[in-house]
Symmetry: C2
Subunit: 84 residues, 2 copies
């Protein structure tokens, strides 16, 4: 079976996000004054083979812990879908 | 009303993604041989004030077109939720 994992990696609460602040300021300068906050993160779409959805989820969680996210400053969330 | 827009910006199909290839190769080296492809993208969580959800969606679409995504090589998707 083939699965697709959509992973979002964001900074943990309290970690300084200068990129997000820069984007918020740029949006204000473009007249989007209603924007209160911008938080930035990374997105990964991982296509992989696995026997079951549970196995795909377990492997993607391992990949996040080992490579895709920095556990010191980042958190992650993902969802896995079967590809037909 | 306050709303939160979760925006994912990815490369358009056919646009070369060297970062994704590098991550796929790194995952293979870490013994995640079942990974077939990795596509990378950017994630933005935008908190904003708006009268209605439709207005929040319209404004976020404008921000994507003007600043958050490069329409030449990138595509975007987003969902908006009310924050209570």
């Amino acid at each position: 079976m083939k699965y697709c994992g959509k992973v979002v990696v964001t900074l943990k609460p309290g970690v300084f996000d200068p990129q997000g602040m820069t984007i918020r300021n740029a949006l204000h300068a473009l007249s989007y004054r209603e924007v209160e906050e911008v938080e930035t993160g990374k997105y990964f779409k991982v296509t992989l083979k696995a026997e079951t959805k549970e196995e795909a989820e377990r492997r993607i969680r391992e990949m996040c812990d080992q490579l895709l996210a920095n556990p010191v400053i980042e958190q992650y969330a993902f969802e896995v879908q079967e590809i037909r």
